[in-house]
């Protein structure tokens, strides 16, 4: 008799981070739902296909009420991926508790009053961000809602992250990451390329991978069959 002793494989788990909308209901809940309906009326399908985190830190609801709220959101095609701001012992039967969420939208560039950055109300957002000055080393511009246009250079050690495409009317010496929330159709255009890194939808090229013949030229980058392509413009 022979027996095969099978070595149990060690399982590997990977942590992965995703972009999700955080929805924060405020009391009274019924009025909040009515406001939500009004917003959704103006931009239908705003949440469609996106994971949503439910932030309950502004309300105190019983587990039943929370389940009801989740069902209400489900009716509006808002799918709750997890819950924030709830004691784990109250969360039996509910979606998992999320912790350590970091706010996106954090745009560090020159926080001046009345500056050109994303307005707080998502439904009023235009889908592009215009930056009219150079982006300096150490500064990060994050705009996941759409395109970013820079009228100036992006310094070495600076970073532009856009949900859509990136347009730079100057020299790109830093990093440009387009299609950052999973948009393979996003592109990067720049007037002069000397980039440290170009990325579209997590495919990237470092300075070393950029052909010498393209350096300092006007260039566009796009994705084709899972590779990042670069070509000189005109």
């Amino acid at each position: 008799m022979s027996s095969v002793v099978r070595q149990r494989q060690s399982l590997m788990f990977r942590a992965r981070s995703y972009m999700a909308f955080a929805v924060m209901p405020r009391p009274p809940i019924m009025e909040w739902l009515a406001d939500l309906d009004a917003s959704l009326e103006r931009s239908k399908g705003f949440f469609a296909g996106y994971p949503v985190a439910l932030d309950l830190s502004a309300v105190s609801l019983s587990p039943n009420a929370i389940a009801q709220l989740i069902a209400n959101l489900e009716e509006r095609h808002i799918r709750v991926l997890g819950i924030e701001g709830l004691d784990p012992k109250d969360a039996a039967g509910l979606p998992p508790i999320l912790r350590n969420g970091r706010d996106s939208h954090a745009v560090e560039v020159a926080p001046r009053p009345g500056a050109e950055f994303a307005p707080a109300d998502p439904k009023l957002q235009t889908s592009s961000l215009l930056i009219e000055h150079p982006v300096r080393s150490g500064q990060t511009v994050v705009f996941t809602e759409g395109d970013v246009t820079v009228l100036g250079s992006v310094g070495s050690g600076a970073e532009i992250v856009a949900g859509g495409s990136i347009h730079i009317y100057g020299t790109l010496r830093g990093r440009a990451m387009a299609g950052a929330v999973g948009n393979a159709r996003a592109r990067i255009f720049c007037h002069r390329v000397e980039a440290e890194l170009l990325a579209i939808d997590s495919y990237y090229k470092t300075a070393d991978d950029i052909e010498d013949s393209l350096r300092l030229k006007p260039v566009q980058a796009w994705l084709e069959g899972g590779t990042l392509k670069l070509s000189a413009m005109n």
Partner: protein
């Protein structure tokens, strides 16, 4: 109206302290009332470069803590009457600087002087951000090499976000001072060219100071180069820069190698 200037760079060793002393002495020789402040608490140098190290009694931290009055801490230069120094403390560190304390000191200095020049420590931490906090204008000191230029770019970003002016939605005026420029090395392409530096930093140029032993000698003697050798190439370049600061329109010259008669005769063969 008093002007508060910060002399800053991010990177160390590029010539902030030398430039603070040289510009301060140049402005004072032209009749302006000038105070230079050392913000490098714990690693003070400006007193040495100004030749005042043996006369320091009280310092910036003493004034902030209320141990001494501002007038007690100010050291008047022996050579130029209208030039004063506010030294840093050597025994403390940057944590001893408080924002309110500095605001008070700067406000008081504004009533006494035409120019308040803050010599920033290297880095982008507390000392450097407090030195730039109240600036009306900044002089960004850069050497023509990549690491210095990138650090300057970083500092320009901070000037646009961490200063009182930036927080009010105004802009800190910025002037670029290129120091340690070496004409022959630039000609051989061993340094970034002036055009490259200006293109990367897109900031108006205040002056170009050539690399010179004169500067080193002046610092070691405890005398700003604009005082000890005002007619030397760096001395003249600093004077031109100070006149531009006062609003005079003086064309900028890119320093070229001045060769003696022997060099001119034999230079080619030797090279």
């Amino acid at each position: 109206m008093a002007q508060v200037l910060v002399v800053t760079s991010g990177k160390g060793g590029v010539g902030k302290t030398t430039s603070t002393a040289a510009l301060g002495a140049a402005l004072a020789q032209e009749g302006e009332k000038v105070v230079v402040i050392d913000f490098d608490v714990g690693l003070r140098n400006l007193d040495l470069v100004m030749g005042a190290e043996r006369r320091v009694v009280f310092d910036l931290i003493n004034v902030i803590n209320g141990v001494a009055k501002l007038t007690q801490a100010l050291i008047r230069d022996k050579r130029i009457e209208n030039l004063s120094l506010l030294p840093a403390s050597q025994t403390r560190d940057k944590d001893a600087l408080t924002e309110e304390g500095i605001a008070k000191v700067i406000a008081e200095l504004r009533t006494k002087f035409d120019w308040i020049i803050c010599d920033s420590p290297a880095g982008i931490e507390r000392g450097a951000t407090l030195a730039m906090r109240h600036a009306d204008a900044a002089i960004i000191v850069t050497n023509p090499e990549v690491s210095s230029v990138r650090d300057s770019d970083r500092i320009i970003g901070l000037l646009d976000s961490k200063t009182v002016k930036a927080e009010r939605g105004e802009r800190v005026a910025k002037h670029l001072l290129i120091t340690r420029y070496h004409p022959s090395r630039a000609a051989r392409g061993e340094m970034l060219s002036i055009e490259d530096v200006l293109e990367i930093l897109s900031t108006p140029l205040l002056g170009i100071i050539p690399e010179s032993e004169e500067v080193l000698r002046a610092s070691n003697m405890g005398s700003p180069v604009t005082l000890s050798s005002p007619l030397s190439a760096p001395g003249r370049a600093y004077f031109d820069a100070s006149r531009r600061l006062r609003g005079n329109d003086i064309p900028i010259q890119i320093p070229s190698e001045t060769r003696g008669i022997f060099n001119r005769l034999f230079g080619r063969k030797a090279a």
